[in-house]
């Protein structure tokens, strides 16, 4: 855009030397950037040719994704025996990965829906990419229940349809609830995400130079023109989507936890599972948001939009949800003791001292309980390297946690004669690594082709967007400099 050179990047009438009011809030967009700077910076990422690092990254991640897809193909064509599943461990990496990925998605919905209802304005800088992360994580999650059934061509049994004997699925089964919960979650997340995207697609459409871009963006922007009569219904729709996504996201991981909690297995059969799983999901999801966001921010120089304040607040949420999780872990041990149930007591001794002892000591104790405690300190929340370290710990720790719950619960249950161990095969391992590749590839495609920050929403948190805003010297921004912003 030619206006880039003529428009000063700061809001006129405010200079960086203006004295800070002592009680003023820390601004969410730093350096007093104006509307057109936001448009330029965010659209620029999409409009300029892909930088070399992008191709390097994408080559690596898509190669890993291809290995994952190969493993999925191999597993489907050969059978579930290619995985290390056996008696008594009939669920292992597959369901661990499913719960891991679906949990990661929850942070995106928390940011886009719950923080919206709570009027947390800082969410605007991160909600778009967090929602995209949700979609990609749920896609990765959906792979595992799809293929672990063994005969994927029978996956239509998941649908609420009668089979050839006229028998319908059991609607009172948590596995059936799961099908509805996850598919609803994915669909609603797509609708919410696309609704938020429309005004930004219109921005890109109005800046498009090539015929192809004009056509495609024109179609997907739906003819959006920023009319206030449209914003009125749009905002109500957005509010309601946020309102219904909030109980939805809480229900999804609750339903996932019912898969375990409604069984009779020691360590699974507990009522604490739904809130424990939801807190863990948000905990792990925020770690993944930061894992993706911190490099993206550095590469695209978005430090004025994703500020230290944003990182700080996300670190605090990790600390909060990490504390919930720590409490839940402690309460599980307490209940095992307090219940007086010998199987339950044994299962928890086995968790910390059994064959999978180090999963607990490293994954749950160090990664999930101890590492977030660094976030009590402001210095740690403000240091991106410390934040990144903790996020990596949490990413790993939450995977371990699900493994401990699933395999730890299954491998030694009531009858010692049927005890056993789980050993992952190369197909197990590479299918999981492959989904990491699929996830990162999709995310790279997203940052390349769509605005990864919600421009229309970030503009709202600029002080100038307030209809009662007056610049400090008493004029509107236009009058202050005496010249017009063209």
């Amino acid at each position: 855009m030619d206006s880039a050179s003529t428009v000063p990047d700061i809001i006129e009438g405010e200079t960086s030397t203006s004295p800070q009011r002592p009680l003023a809030r820390v601004p969410l967009v730093l350096n007093k950037r104006n509307f057109s700077w936001i448009t330029e910076r965010i659209s620029g990422v999409v409009e300029q040719p892909a930088p070399r690092w992008w191709w390097v990254m994408f080559t690596i991640t898509s190669a890993i994704a291809s290995i994952g897809l190969f493993c999925i193909g191999y597993q489907i064509s050969t059978g579930v025996g290619t995985w290390g599943l056996n008696h008594p461990v009939g669920w292992a990496w597959d369901i661990t990965n499913f719960v891991f990925w679906i949990g990661i998605g929850h942070a995106g919905t928390l940011i886009s829906a719950i923080l919206y209802l709570l009027r947390q304005k800082w969410r605007t800088s991160i909600n778009r990419s967090a929602e995209a992360m949700t979609l990609f994580a749920v896609m990765c999650a959906a792979i595992f229940p799809g293929i672990h059934v063994g005969r994927v061509w029978m996956a239509w049994f998941l649908a609420p349809l009668p089979n050839n004997y006229g028998i319908w699925p059991n609607f009172r089964s948590p596995l059936m609830w799961d099908v509805f919960a996850v598919s609803t979650y994915f669909t609603v997340s797509v609708l919410f995400w696309y609704t938020g995207l429309v005004p930004d697609l219109a921005t890109l459409r109005d800046r498009a130079t090539t015929k192809m871009r004009k056509f495609l963006l024109g179609v997907f922007a739906l003819g959006w023109r920023g009319s206030n009569r449209h914003w009125r219904h749009y905002e109500m729709a957005y509010l309601l989507l946020a309102g219904i996504s909030t109980p939805l996201v809480l229900s999804v991981h609750s339903v996932v936890s019912f898969d375990f909690a409604t069984s009779v297995l020691p360590t699974w059969h507990t009522t604490i599972f739904p809130p424990y799983f939801v807190a863990g999901a948000i905990f792990g999801g925020f770690a993944m948001v930061l894992t993706l966001m911190l490099p993206a921010r550095a590469i695209f120089k978005l430090h004025d939009i994703i500020t230290p304040q944003h990182v700080d607040k996300m670190a605090k949420i990790i600390l909060l949800t990490g504390s919930f999780v720590t409490y839940a872990y402690a309460m599980e041990f307490f209940m095992a003791w307090y219940s007086g149930n010998q199987y339950e007591r044994f299962a928890f001794w086995n968790r910390i001292l059994g064959p999978y002892w180090w999963y607990w000591w490293v994954g749950m104790l160090f990664c999930n309980m101890l590492s977030p405690q660094l976030f009590w300190f402001r210095w740690c929340r403000r240091n991106v390297y410390v934040v990144y370290f903790v996020c990596m710990c949490v990413n790993a720790g939450m995977w371990y946690e699900r493994f401990i719950i699933i395999v730890g619960g299954l491998h030694r249950d009531f009858l010692p004669s049927s005890w056993g161990l789980f050993h992952a095969t190369w197909v197990d391992i590479w299918t999981f690594i492959g989904t990491l590749g699929i996830f990162t590839s999709l995310f790279l495609v997203f940052v390349r082709f769509l605005p990864s920050i919600a421009m229309s929403e970030v503009k709202i948190v600029v002080p100038e967007a307030d209809p009662h805003y007056h610049s400090p010297n008493g004029h509107h921004s236009i009058a202050a400099g005496g010249k017009e912003r063209i």
């Binding site: 609607f171 959006w224 509107h476």
Partner: protein
């Protein structure tokens, strides 16, 4: 209404330098008694609905209907097969009112799903979208409505619309680049 060169007039429009200027202008146009007019901004401006004299959006009613439809769909989908078509006793659990809570999760999910679809389609249909062509796009400056431009347009269909009166209110409210936008 047509221009001397024979073009049909869609609206008289002006640009404003800031959200606050647009907000004040909207109040003036509202008070001048115009009905068919609109403001355009890259983001929703807080309080603009009141400044334009618009009430609360009734989209919520559509979503309520969607939610109720979802709940009823789930109820029929679950109780139909489970109680009537092919009752299947799993784990010895009977079909009585005591076991109804086991049907709640799916009822909840479908309520949410249908509400979301209702909200998604309602905001488009109520706004007349998708509509890929619109006369306001004829104005070259208007591409900035999705960037950093703030616009107000009074449509020629408005019963009070005359070129003089529309221009007067736009000028009085501080509008710049006042122009006539053609219909085609």
């Amino acid at each position: 209404m047509r221009t001397p060169s024979g073009h049909k007039v869609y609206a008289m429009a002006a640009e404003y330098p800031s959200p606050s200027a647009l907000y004040e202008a909207a109040k003036m146009v509202r008070d001048a008694g115009f009905k068919r007019w609109d403001v355009f901004s890259p983001f929703p401006i807080h309080g603009m609905d009141d400044a334009m004299g618009l009430g609360k959006s009734w989209l919520s009613a559509v979503v309520l209907v969607g939610g109720i439809t979802g709940l009823l769909t789930a109820a029929i989908l679950e109780f139909g097969p489970s109680w009537i078509i092919y009752p299947l006793i799993v784990h010895g659990k009977p079909y009585t009112w005591r076991t109804v809570p086991a049907f709640f999760p799916i009822m909840f999910e479908l309520t949410v799903l249908f509400s979301a679809f209702a909200a998604f389609f309602a905001w488009q249909l109520m706004n007349g979208l998708p509509r890929w062509y619109h006369p306001i796009f004829n104005w070259a400056r208007f591409t900035r409505a999705t960037n950093d431009g703030f616009f107000l347009a009074i449509e020629a269909r408005d019963p009070r619309f005359t070129e003089i009166e529309a221009r007067e209110v736009l000028e009085r409210s501080g509008g710049q680049h006042i122009t006539i936008i053609h219909e085609d």
